[in-house]
Subunit: 447 residues, 2 copies
C-alpha cells in the first residue's frame, strides 16, 4: 500500500461530515468537493449533484459498449461523535494505533468506500482503464435515511443503468474472514397508546375503580410473545420462508462462537431468543417483535402516587422473507384489538417500513463476488445474512432493477456509531485488492 | 369572607413548595416562613422547626389548664405539577374561575389548612382567644411520606400532649355534604428495574438473541393481577379484614351514584376493578397494586430501532386493615422473583410505607365532629372511609396516643395530584365556619 494512502485516509476522516446536524452542512460540501477532486485526479469523470439535502458525488469512467456496468455505492456522511468524553482521541483527528485507524467514520463508511476508490486508482494506474463500466455513487445522507437518493436514482434512472451494485457497508463475520452478506431483515414500526382516564388520577382516591393504563399496556404487551420467545400474533409466521438446509449448514460452520460473541459484547446475563433456533438463525433468519420504548406516568425520582391517564409503547418488527410490512402491521392491529384489557381505549400509529432483502449468493455475480473475496483475503468466504436493514438495497432493486453484492469490511469491534470507532489498515489494504478483484470477476462473469 | 383572604390564599399558592424535588428546597423554606409570619400576626406564637428534611411550622395559643387541647395538622408541601402541558393556567400562578381557585396545592392541602388558619383568626378576632388549647402543626413532607414528622412528634412528645387531632386533608362525599372519614387505606411503594445488556443495542444487529428488558418487564408486570382485577401475589389478601355490615349498608345509602361520579370525573371508557365488590368497597376497603410509572428505551418522536439496556416501573400498593406494608413488600419481592422472565436481571428498591387507619366515628370526639360539620354545612353528615393514605394519622395514634378526626374539604373533582387542581371558595368559607364550630364542640365534649 502506498504511503500516500494513509495521508489521504486521514484527510478524508478530518471532514466532520455529520449529516444529521445542520451546523456541519458546509463540512459535508467540503468533503464532497474533496472526493470529486480526488476522483477526477485518478482518471474518473466526477461531479457533485446537488439534492434537497446534502450533495451526491457521482463518478464514472468512460463507458464502452459490450462491458458489464457496475455501480459502487458508499457514503461520506458520518454519525455524530457524542458522547465526546468517551473517545480516547478526538473523533475528527485520526490517529493510527497498533494498526488501527481511530476516527469517526473510519469504518462507517469512509475506510470502506476509500478502499474502493484506491482499488480503482491502482487498476487505472496499472492498466489505463477498468475492466467494466463504472458508476461510483457516494451520498451524504445515509446516516439520516438516504432521503435524497431515491429521487436521484429515479431522475437519472436511464444514465444509471447497470448490471449489479457493489456495497461495502456491512460486517465481516470475523477478522480475516471475507464475508458476503446475501440477506437482510426488513423492518416495520408502530406505536401503541392506551388511555383510561382523561387525566392523571390520585391512586388513593381512584385506585381500584378505574383501569390503570400502564397495567393494561403491560398485560397487552405480555401477549406479544409466548414464554419461549415465539411471537404470538396469529398468522405472524405464515409468510416466513424457512431457512434452506445449505444455509443452516453453512452458518453452523462459521468460524465464530456466536453465543460467546454476543454475551461478551452485550454483557447480558444470558442469551434469550426464540426456542428451536441457533443464535445466527435468530439474528438473521427469524423475525422479531421488539419493544423499543415504553413510557407512562411518573418516571422521576422517588414516588408519585398517580394513576397515569395513558401509557405508550414503541414497537418494531424485524421482517424476514417473505413477510410484508403492511400485512404484519394489520395482523398486529388485530392482535392488539383482540387482547386489549377492559377499561381502556387504544390508539395505534403505524410508522415507516423497509423491506427485507435476499439475493442468491450462487448466481453468476454472487460467484464472482466469492472469487474476488477469496482472492483478496486468501481464505474461504463466509456466506451470511445480516439482522439489520439497508433500505437502499431495496431501492436499487425497485428503481434500477438490479441486485446488490454486500461485501462488508467492518469488524465486530469497529464501534461504528460509538466512541472510538476504528478501522484496521489491513482491511483498507484487503479492500483495495477486493475492489480490483471484484471488478475483474464481474467483468468476465457470464450473466 | 374578607377580601384579603383570597389575596392570602393566592400568595400561599404561589410558593412552588414541591417537596420531592430538591431543586425547590428554598421555595419550601420561603413558604414556611410566610406561614410563621401569618400565624404570629393573627395572635398565635409560631416558630419554624428545622428537620433533616423540610421545616415544620408549629404554632400555639397560650395554653390554659382545664381546657381540651386540640392539634390541628396540615401540610404546605405539594405534588409536582407534571405534566405541565395539561394545565389550563400555570400551576403556581393561581386564578379564580367560576368560584374555583385553580393552582397546584389549592385543595391538597393549602386551601384546607388555610381555612383552619382563617377560622382561628376569626375566633381570636371576635373573642380574644380560642375555646381550647391549640397546637397547629403544618409540615413540608406530607407528599414524600412525612419522614421528619415522627422524629418531631417524639422529640416534643411532652409539649405536644393533646386530646384529639383534627385534619382536613380528605374528601367530601359530594359538594355540600359534610363528611367525616373514619378510615384510610395505607400505602407502600417499590420500584422494579429490569436489565439485559449493559448498553442500548441495535435492534437489527442484536434483536432476537438477547432479552428485551421492556418485554420482560411487561411480562413480569402482567402477572400482578388476574383478568378480574384480583391481585395475584400469593398471600396478598391473607390479612384483609372484611367490611362490617353497618358500613356496607351506610355506603349503599350515601347520596351519590359512585359509578356515575367516577365515570363523569375521569371520562374513563368504563369502570374497572376487582370483581365482586361495589365501587365504594373497591375504593375504600379493598387493597390495590397500582403501576404509577413505567419507562424504558426511546420515548421521543418517531422510531429508534434500539433494544434498551433496562426498563423500570414504579409501583404502590394501597393497603387496608389489617395488612402490613413490610409484609406486603416481602410477598411482592417473592412474586417478582418467581415470575421474572429469563435473560434479564432485576433490582427492586423499596420506597416508603404508611399504614392504614380506622377509628370509631361514634366516640365522643366523633360525635363532636359530626355536630360541628352539621352546624357548618347545615345538613346531614356522611360517614365514610377514604381510599388515600395519611400515614401521619397512625403516627398521632402511635406516638401521641390520640385519635384523629378527618374533616375533609376536598371535592371529587378537585384534581389533587393532577393538572388543573382546584378548590371552591365556598369550601374555604365553610371550612372557616367548620374550624370555629369544631373547636367549640371539642371544647365542651365529655371525653
Amino acid at each position: 500500500m502506498r504511503d500516500s494512502y494513509l495521508d489521504e485516509f486521514f484527510t478524508f476522516l478530518r471532514f466532520a461530515s455529520i449529516s444529521t446536524d445542520d451546523t456541519y452542512k458546509e463540512k459535508l460540501v467540503e468533503c464532497a468537493h474533496w472526493l470529486v477532486e480526488k476522483l477526477n485526479r485518478i482518471g474518473l469523470q466526477a461531479q457533485l449533484v446537488s439534492t434537497p439535502g446534502h450533495p451526491i458525488v457521482w463518478a464514472k469512467n468512460k463507458h464502452q459498449p459490450g462491458r458489464k456496468t457496475v455501480m459502487i455505492y458508499g457514503h461520506y456522511d458520518v454519525q455524530p461523535p457524542d458522547p465526546l468524553e468517551l473517545w480516547d482521541s478526538p473523533p475528527f483527528d485520526p490517529v493510527l494505533r497498533n494498526g488501527y485507524v481511530y476516527a469517526r467514520g473510519s469504518t462507517d463508511n469512509k475506510g470502506q468506500i476509500l478502499s474502493h476508490i484506491l482499488g480503482i486508482q491502482e487498476t487505472i494506474a496499472e492498466k489505463g482503464d477498468l475492466p467494466v463500466n463504472l458508476h461510483l455513487i457516494i451520498e451524504g445522507e445515509e446516516e439520516i435515511g438516504s432521503g435524497s437518493l431515491p429521487g436521484f436514482l429515479k431522475k437519472h434512472r436511464d444514465s444509471l443503468g447497470c448490471d449489479i451494485v457493489v456495497v461495502s457497508d456491512t460486517g465481516m463475520i470475523a477478522r480475516g474472514v471475507p464475508t458476503l452478506s446475501y440477506g437482510l431483515r426488513g423492518v416495520t414500526a408502530c406505536e401503541v397508546k392506551v388511555t383510561a382516564a382523561k387525566m392523571d388520577l390520585h391512586s388513593g382516591v381512584f385506585g381500584g375503580a378505574v383501569a390503570n393504563p400502564i397495567t393494561a399496556l403491560a398485560r397487552l404487551l405480555a401477549t406479544l410473545h409466548d414464554a419461549n420467545g415465539h411471537i404470538a400474533i396469529e398468522g405472524f409466521y405464515d409468510d416466513v420462508k424457512p431457512l434452506e438446509d445449505w444455509e443452516r449448514d453453512a452458518w453452523k460452520k462459521l468460524p465464530v462462537d456466536a453465543d460467546k460473541l454476543i454475551l461478551d459484547e452485550t454483557k447480558a446475563p444470558a442469551l434469550f431468543g426464540e426456542k428451536g433456533y441457533s443464535t445466527f438463525e435468530r439474528l438473521w433468519a427469524r423475525p422479531t417483535a421488539e419493544l423499543n420504548g415504553i413510557g407512562g406516568g411518573y418516571q422521576g425520582q422517588g414516588t408519585k402516587t398517580v394513576i397515569a391517564s395513558h401509557a405508550m409503547a414503541k414497537l418494531t418488527f424485524r421482517l424476514v422473507p417473505n413477510q410484508e410490512g403492511d400485512k404484519v402491521l394489520k395482523l398486529a392491529h388485530k392482535h392488539f384489538e383482540k387482547h386489549l384489557p377492559p377499561g381502556v381505549t387504544m390508539e395505534i400509529t403505524d410508522g415507516h417500513s423497509g423491506p427485507w432483502y435476499l439475493t442468491d449468493p450462487h448466481s453468476a455475480f454472487g460467484e464472482a463476488a466469492q472469487h474476488a473475496l477469496k482472492e483478496a483475503f486468501g481464505t474461504e468466504v463466509a456466506l451470511i445474512r445480516e439482522g439489520g436493514s439497508i433500505p437502499i438495497v431495496s431501492q436499487f432493486r425497485d428503481i434500477l432493477g438490479v441486485e446488490t453484492l454486500l461485501l462488508g469490511l467492518a469488524l465486530h469491534d469497529c464501534r461504528a456509531h460509538s466512541p472510538n470507532e476504528n478501522f484496521p489498515l489491513e482491511n483498507l489494504q484487503n479492500g483495495i485488492k477486493m475492489n480490483q478483484a471484484i471488478l475483474q470477476e464481474i467483468g468476465r462473469a457470464r450473466s
